[in-house]
């Protein structure tokens, strides 16, 4: 029998020598929070917001559910690192190490083909940024969050922290106190951005928590597809990544947010993502969690406007020592709102995947409909899969459907494929790729190819 294993060398697991202009001391206190705000020359309201959030962070308990977070040591982390003094606009101006790192992930390659704008985050500041001229002409704003705060303070102040306030949860509070970088996207009324906007995130410093903050505003009738892809180098001590993403989808607008998360297996990925959908707006999350040690992430849609629609399509893969606790939340506040959640998870080599989701129908959300489908594959006897869906229904004129299955790879299918001369690991790869295909086909081509390759790699243990 051909052995299939997961012990491949992590493709993006390299780390560059650290060359930083500034690094805060270990641990977090009011001084560090103030210092971050001062370094960034922020307005007073933001400094106050950060300090208030820090107070909430200190008081909030750790979540008593979900994955094991007991190994996180907040005092041994750095909360702010500034890699280079100023931002650069062209690829040539980037420092050699940073450029090297990006070259290995393939940022310029991808850009040539597809990108409307790249905003690549290396440590806490966005150091490389190029925005398509056409986007500028349309009035689209796409920059890092720090620049957004400097250049468009009124817009930022109006939306920032209103959908995910610091007291939402401990990690949202931590992010609110220490946030740095992330993206700011504003699409004016009626503007449809044809090409996806992309941002790459990386963690490079050991024990460094990365707290990016993203705010996307789509005005009436606007459309944008935002893509976030992550890869990170391997380190021996735990890193923490705790982002906050707030998205406002106004009347008749549509936003799609695609994530391909492939942190190395020492990263705690604890992310709060939430969108508000107004009248007839559409919000779609496409969420792929392949890497990290622990992920806790439940992209949400608050359906506030009549006829709004929310969708979450997600893939989770958990290999050795990984726990993916991911899912979705749909809250129906208005009549004729609809939502759909499709979740596909795979656990292997002792990995654990948990789907955790909430569907809530508030009184008055008449004629709303919900469809939830969670499928899980368990590939060996060491692995585990859980499903924890919550449904709270306070309105009778609705239709709610939930279904879930857990199974192993079909033996007949495997047998059929191997009888045609396909090796067992290739056959497994084919079947797993077929299993996740309904979600993968929603992802832009270059990502879906990468994902299919990654799955084959995970199944066979060799780079194809």
């Amino acid at each position: 029998m051909q052995q299939s294993n997961l012990d491949f060398e992590y493709k993006f697991g390299f780390s560059m020598p650290q060359k930083y202009t500034f690094k805060s001391k270990k641990g977090l206190d009011e001084g560090v929070v103030k210092m971050i705000s001062q370094m960034k020359k922020e307005p007073v309201w933001m400094t106050e917001f950060r300090l208030k959030a820090y107070g909430i962070f200190k008081k909030k308990p750790m979540p008593d559910w979900g994955a094991d977070l007991s190994k996180i040591n907040f005092d041994s982390m750095y909360y702010y690192i500034k890699p280079t003094d100023k931002q650069v606009n062209s690829w040539e101006d980037l420092p050699a190490e940073i450029k090297n790192t990006y070259d290995r992930i393939g940022v310029p390659e991808a850009e040539k083909k597809f990108l409307a704008g790249v905003s690549a985050q290396y440590e806490s500041e966005v150091v490389y940024e190029s925005i398509n001229k056409e986007l500028n002409k349309q009035g689209v704003l796409f920059c890092d969050m720090d620049t957004g705060l400097k250049k468009y303070p009124h817009l930022v102040k109006k939306y920032f922290g209103t959908l995910i306030p610091p007291h939402d949860n401990k990690f949202a509070a931590l992010n609110s106190a220490t946030w740095s970088g992330g993206s700011f996207v504003y699409i004016p009324k009626g503007v449809k951005v044809k090409m996806p906007l992309q941002a790459y995130f990386r963690i490079n410093a050991e024990r460094f928590g990365q707290f990016e903050r993203t705010l996307i505003i789509a005005e009436e009738g606007a459309y944008v597809h935002y893509i976030e892809g992550c890869t990170a180098p391997i380190y021996t001590t735990q890193s923490l990544h705790s982002a906050v993403v707030e998205i406002f989808v106004h009347k008749n607008a549509r936003v799609r947010y695609t994530t391909v998360q492939n942190w190395s297996n020492n990263v705690y990925n604890l992310v709060t993502k939430r969108a508000r959908a107004d009248e007839n707006a559409i919000m779609e999350w496409v969420d792929c969690n392949i890497g990290s040690k622990v992920t806790m992430k439940y992209p949400s849609v608050y359906l506030y406007g009549e006829g709004a629609r929310g969708e979450v399509l997600s893939i989770a893969y958990a290999g050795k020592n990984q726990h993916q606790d991911a899912g979705a939340k749909m809250l129906h506040f208005a009549p004729r709102t609809s939502s759909r959640i499709i979740s596909k998870s795979i656990s292997k080599a002792g990995g654990r995947t948990s789907y955790r989701g909430l569907v809530q129908i508030m009184p008055g959300a008449k004629k709303s409909s919900v469809y939830v489908s969670c499928d899980a594959l368990i590939l060996d006897e060491k692995s585990r899969s859980d499903t924890y869906p919550y449904m709270k229904i306070k309105q009778n004129d609705v239709s709610i459907q939930h279904e879930a299955t857990v199974e192993k790879l079909g033996e007949e299918k495997l047998f059929y494929l191997t009888s045609k001369g396909i090796s067992k690991s290739d056959a497994e790869g084919l079947l797993v790729n077929g299993f996740i295909d309904p979600v993968v086909k929603e992802i832009p081509l270059e990502y879906s190819i990468e994902l299919n390759r990654l799955i084959n790699l995970e199944m066979s243990g060799s780079v194809g």
Binding site: R384, Y388, P389, I393, D397
Partner: protein, 196 residues
């Protein structure tokens, strides 16, 4: 014929099965935590639950299908009809231990909401630690099918009667399954329970 366990009569909250064989359990309008432990090989267990909530009735129900032995099947079906301001809070867990290889576990919860003041909370959980298994759960919640109601009304059946016909059909799935074990009078009494 399967061994019948009527939880309304036995008042037990934990059902431990140590012998291979077929079993059927039934509960009607009971709140509490009900644990079904399948400890031996080749146990086949059906669990049927029926809930009819009226006025300010409140049911808080938790079921656990705990598979420890291998090659077992458990099959849970809970149906509920909720009127007025009744509340139904249901949490169902299927847990398959590593030792429970080649097991099948199913869980289905179907609810009819007859009033816009009733409240429903359904949490069908799965915790699967074995790989050579097959598990599904499904949950549906909604109103009576409008097409079916309309059809009956076009046949000159009054709306109230048509609704009652559809509700009877809905809960008869459970009554039919347990009819073989229970006396006719009892099933008839249950059916009376369901009418509004």
């Amino acid at each position: 014929m399967a061994t019948f366990i009527n939880l309304n009569k036995t008042k037990n909250h934990t059902v431990t099965l140590n012998k291979s064989g077929k079993y059927a359990a039934f509960l009607h309008n009971l709140s509490g935590k009900f644990i079904f432990e399948l400890k031996e090989k080749n146990i086949y267990l059906d669990i049927y639950g029926l809930f009819v909530g009226k006025k300010t009735d409140k049911f808080e129900v938790e079921t656990i299908q705990h598979h420890i032995g291998p090659e077992c099947t458990s099959n849970l079906l809970i149906k509920g009809v909720f009127y007025d301001e009744s509340k139904f809070i249901y949490q169902g867990l299927i847990r398959l231990e590593k030792s429970a290889q080649k097991s099948h576990a199913y869980q289905k919860n179907q609810n009819l909401m007859m009033s816009d003041k009733c409240f429903l909370d359904s949490r069908p959980f799965l915790e699967i630690l074995a790989n050579d298994v097959f598990c599904t759960h499904g949950s549906t919640t909604g109103r009576l099918n409008e097409d079916q109601l309309h059809y009956l009304q076009t046949r000159a059946i009054a709306k109230k009667t048509a609704e009652q016909l559809l509700i009877d059909g809905f809960i008869n799935e459970i009554l039919g399954k347990i009819a073989a074990y229970e006396s006719k009078e009892h099933t008839k009494r249950l059916s009376d329970f369901s009418s509004s």
